[in-house]
């Protein structure tokens, strides 16, 4: 186990052991379901669709993207280059979750602080985005997206949403 040093008030040094993140447990089948489907995902294409759908289906989420230009219609949103680019960024970051399914809280600690302190995003939005990921995966992978595969992905998106909310204060 890794050891961490924490400096408390008055210079008191405390050494604790860093325990693995045991909050979410994924079975071997769930991991396989996530990893095998992720390998087939075109991150650029799917990322753009996921973010686009979020902005279309839940229009109040546009509040975070005032500088993205034209978001006035479904076609404007889905064709908007800034939406596509940002969607790719977001989904690439999600790919990190797939690589660190046992350590999500630490993996997303910095991003959590960023979303709270700099971007002021209500964590409810992470759940909405997670659901958009699932729905877009369902449209792209009809055959593979069985109820079992959905359940594994549902667990992952929920865990990522929680990890992103973890550092909020």
């Amino acid at each position: 186990m890794e050891k961490q040093q924490h400096r408390l008030a008055f210079g008191t040094l405390v050494i604790t052991s860093k325990l693995p993140d045991t909050m979410v447990h994924f079975t071997a089948e769930e991991r396989a379901a996530v990893v095998s489907l992720w390998a087939k995902v075109n991150v650029e294409l799917v990322g753009g669709e996921v973010l686009g759908r979020l902005l279309v289906v839940y229009p109040w989420t546009q509040r975070f993207f005032d500088n993205f230009g034209n978001l006035s219609s479904e076609s404007a949103i889905m064709g908007n280059p800034k939406v596509k680019a940002h969607g790719k960024k977001v989904l690439t970051s999600f790919g990190n979750a797939v690589k660190h399914m046992d350590d999500l809280k630490d993996t997303f600690a910095e991003l959590s602080e960023l979303h709270c302190d700099k971007m002021h995003v209500d964590p409810e939005n992470f759940k909405l985005l997670g659901n958009m990921i699932l729905i877009v995966l369902a449209t792209h992978f009809s055959k593979e997206f069985t109820p079992q595969v959905q359940a594994a992905w549902q667990k992952l998106t929920t865990a990522v949403a929680n990890a992103l909310a973890h550092r909020y204060h």
């Binding site: 369902a138 449209t139 109820p147 079992q148 959905q150 549902q154």
Partner: protein, 142 residues
């Protein structure tokens, strides 16, 4: 978030396309809900919830019939769904958060089976429709 004329037309058109398969999709949505959100199973201790169960199919058909009735009464959902609302609130005592979970799984099911029809605009129309159904179901919660 009232449904516009175009959104109503879109929902009705899709429902017509689903035809007699609404029951199949509602059943799949239920199966997905039980797997993805295991807490929802707590409302069905009396049913065999294994995938393919005849009891889940029968329940899926009930859900399908209610949704079909909702599609036929888009102008007045609270009245059309009043009896169902009363049932879910007073007798079944279902926490309303669960309606959203089933709604989400229904969207996943339809997205999977009709990817070509499931444009962002259709997705938005269905999402609105389901949230109106859920509000109508929650009317009795007072």
């Amino acid at each position: 978030m009232v449904l516009s004329a175009a959104e109503r037309a879109a929902v009705r058109a899709l429902w017509t396309k689903l035809g007699s398969n609404v029951g199949v999709y509602a059943t799949e949505a239920l199966e997905r809900t039980f797997l993805a959100f295991p807490t929802t199973k707590t409302y069905f201790p009396h049913l065999d919830l294994t995938p393919g169960s005849a009891q889940v199919k029968a329940h899926g058909q009930k859900v399908a019939d209610a949704l079909t009735r909702a599609v036929a009464h888009l102008d007045d959902l609270p009245t059309a769904l009043w009896a169902l609302s009363d049932l879910h609130v007073r007798q079944l005592r279902v926490d309303p958060v669960n309606f959203k979970l089933l709604g989400h799984c229904l969207l996943v099911t339809l997205a999977r089976h009709y990817p070509g029809d499931f444009s962002p605009a259709m997705h938005a129309s269905l999402e609105k429709f389901l949230s109106h159904v859920i509000s109508a179901l929650a009317t009795s919660y007072g």
